[in-house]
């Protein structure tokens, strides 16, 4: 498969997952602002913006700003609208390998964004978040049912998994780092869609260490950091599978695989109290893992030289 196409697929996976997760986070955030009578809106918004990588001074942060930056900013790929547009742009360049249905669903999503935006202005943003969640589910659902499990699928899922690790780590950080303006664990669980699975798993009260444990370590819940890392690792193992050579006898073949594997084993084999004891450091490490792994994947699979310019020899 062409490197350029592989890269597009990887990023489609990342962007769609990012739009989905951002929509979930913002949905919970806006609800919380409405429902919680004691909340300090500015602090909460500033915290959220800082965690999502676009910090603003405390006195400028408000809901309007959060939505403008994280939902509607067309130019930034970390907003919902921006991410979906980028995903669609990537799909446009990779149209011959994506199934027609996936392309169409991304295209329809992109075409509906202006209208959703107007609706969100008029009736509140919830409808937009719901729309984005549904559309991302549709994209991945179609991928699941119409794509062969070949390289294209592996790159798409690899992108999605790495993005998921990053986003889940960020969501946990909102709770851990924010101090008294922090959302409750219930909200954190809800913004990853993990609330109901958590309740069914632990039957009852939300308790901080158990919630963190669930989001980080649960093997069965697909949005947990551990599960996402494991999936990314499986994709990488499959992508790098090559005939046994001497070089492949020690360790793993690729740098990306090594990075992801190390993060996974850290979670897997570190005792839970120890892990929770230094949670902020671990979360930061996980986010760094994601960007390192992404860079390594780019290096390994998508390396592409800068456009070549042919310079005729000068006649001096």
């Amino acid at each position: 498969m062409l490197s350029r196409i592989a890269e597009s697929l990887f990023w489609i996976g990342r962007y769609v997952e990012r739009a989905d997760d951002t929509a979930r986070i913002l949905d919970v955030h806006t609800q919380r602002l409405v429902e919680d009578p004691w909340i300090d809106e500015r602090r909460a918004c500033a915290n959220l913006l800082a965690l999502m990588g676009s910090p603003v001074p405390d006195d400028e942060a408000d809901t309007e700003r959060v939505l403008a930056t994280l939902a509607f900013d067309r130019t930034s790929p970390s907003s919902i609208v921006g991410a979906l547009s980028s995903a669609r742009e990537n799909a446009r360049g990779a149209r011959e390998v994506l199934s027609a249905e996936i392309w169409e669903s991304l295209n329809v999503t992109h075409n509906a964004l202006p209208q959703q935006r107007t609706m969100a202005r008029r009736y509140g943003p919830h409808s937009l978040f719901r729309f984005v969640r549904e559309r991302s589910a549709m994209v991945f659902g179609l991928a699941d049912s119409t794509m062969s499990r070949d390289e294209s699928w592996l790159f798409l899922i690899l992108g999605r998994s790495l993005e998921r690790v990053d986003m889940t780590a960020r969501i946990i950080s909102t709770r851990v780092l924010a101090g008294d303006a922090a959302p409750s664990w219930t909200l954190v669980l809800r913004s990853t869609g993990a609330y109901e699975p958590y309740l069914r798993t632990y039957r009852g009260v939300v308790d901080s260490s158990r919630a963190a444990e669930f989001l980080l370590l649960d093997r069965l819940f697909p949005r947990s950091v551990f599960a996402a890392l494991e999936q990314a690792e499986a994709c990488l193992a499959e992508l790098e599978r090559s005939p046994v050579r001497d070089a492949a006898r020690i360790g793993v073949a690729g740098e990306a695989h090594r990075i992801v594997g190390r993060a996974r084993t850290m979670l897997e084999f570190m005792a839970t109290p120890e892990l929770l004891g230094q949670l902020p450091a671990r979360l930061e490490e996980l986010q760094r893992t994601c960007s390192l792994a992404s860079a390594a994947v780019t290096n390994r699979f998508f390396t592409e030289q800068a456009p070549q310019v042919w310079v005729p020899e000068g006649v001096a």
Binding site: M1, R4, R92, R95, V97, V108, P307, W310
Partner: protein
Amino acid sequence: MADLFDGYPLGEQWDEMFGEAGGPRPPYTGLHTSLQPMAGEELSARADLLSQTYRDAGVTFAHAGEEQPFPLDIVPRVIGAEEWSLIERGVAQRVHALEAFLADVYGAGQVFADGVVPRGVVTTSAHFHRQAHGLVPPNGVRVHVSGIDLVRDEAGDFRVLEDNLRSPSGVSYVITNRAAMSQVLPELFADHRIQPVADYPSRLLAALKASAPPNVADPTVVVLTPGVYNSAYFEHALLARQMGVELVEGRDLVCAGNQVSMRTTDGQRRVDVIYRRIDDEFLDPVHFRPDSVIGCAGLLNAARAGRVTIANAVGNGVADDKLLYTWVPDLVRYYLAEEPLLANADTYRLDERDTVEWVLESLDELVLKPVDGSGGKGIVIGPRADEKTLAELAVKVRARPRDWIAQKPIGLSTCPTLIGGRIAPRHVDLRPFAINDGEQVWVLPGGLTRVALPEGELVVNSSQGGGSKDTWVLSPPRPAADLEPESPDLTRIEFTTADLADEPPSPDPGPANDNALAQSQQQQQSKDPAPLSPRGLGPSLWAGPAAGGDGRVRRGGQPC
């Protein structure tokens, strides 16, 4: 009930649907009968559905830098079987002649020696590339894909307006138009026998594979696109997808030691045939524009070394030059010793003083076309131009007569088109697409009908705001003798006495894999009782134990 075609004005031009008597022409009778009782609103509603389909599927055309849905009119254009047969033969004839001409231009040059075409016409063409001289493609084909633009004049005859031998675009819309129309107006399709267009990609792939360098067992074909910002990107992607080949950009290709490869996740992979949709000038920075970043350096040398085939070949532009166009009928006679089946439009070359003077005097009655222009750019339609335009034109023509040809305006035929909820006549042309695989020239039945949507407008080009129509070529009625399928239909089980040998076997039974023998064995097989057809298996196997004997597969349900 309101008649959809009420008040449909007939002009001096040939109308595709209505004859002089006001009734529909024979190919259109079915369509007319189906559409007539429809209300304008209903047709408009379906047209909205049609454009929604296109928006969702992203069938777009980049116009002035913006991606827009490609306008598709809901009223199809119909071509009768006999008319089509003439177009088919005429287009193939033209492609053969131009193919021979190109081989001559980039080879021996016999056509110049024989004084049929002045050498100067070719050497002054901007699309004549000396770099391509002596570059003989593996199966001799240079024009793998061509689009010959036809219009119908006032008398109803098809005439060639121009040839496109470089990278004619629009075929993807032929395919998607058909698919979208059959969703929106399925009942029309049920009433007509329309020749399918969906096998174009497989024909193209076969032709491209046939043109691969020799000694390549399973050639790798790629489509080379300038990128997502190209106006025809949609088409490039569609063709690549439907052929199941990679769609590459220049930066995906690398050429080393005369071998072209593409960069993949598994390292570099050899490429044998490049169906390029990039203009010659940008194709190879070594030979052409050195600042091109969308091409691949070294491509032309690799082609010359016989390691890769470039389709369409480099330098084809010399044969679709608008000046050379005036010689094409002569070329048909010269190379094929046949009379051209499709006439040119009446065209004047500005190569003699007298003609130039005459043209300059009658600019307001002629259509002036720049010879290197494409996409309808720079065309001046004399009868519609204002004084200022004509004066400017006269200066340009006087300065460089080689750059222009003059044509008598053709009253392009009109076709009923849905405009603002009403049916109105609009001018149309037709671009049939032809594929040359080296053995034969195949013409896609239908082609792209482009329609000029503004009233009275004659330029139909999509880059000038034109739309398109689904183009139906009706199948000829099958002759009675032809009713039996040519290949034995194995799904049909028939056994007649004619299959029994009424004579004792002849002494020599022939080779064991003799066709007749195999066939008779298949007949024997099918004669066996209780064939394993699903119906024959009976309810017990298919329905499972709980089927209750009605022979249907029951769908499992959860107990409530």
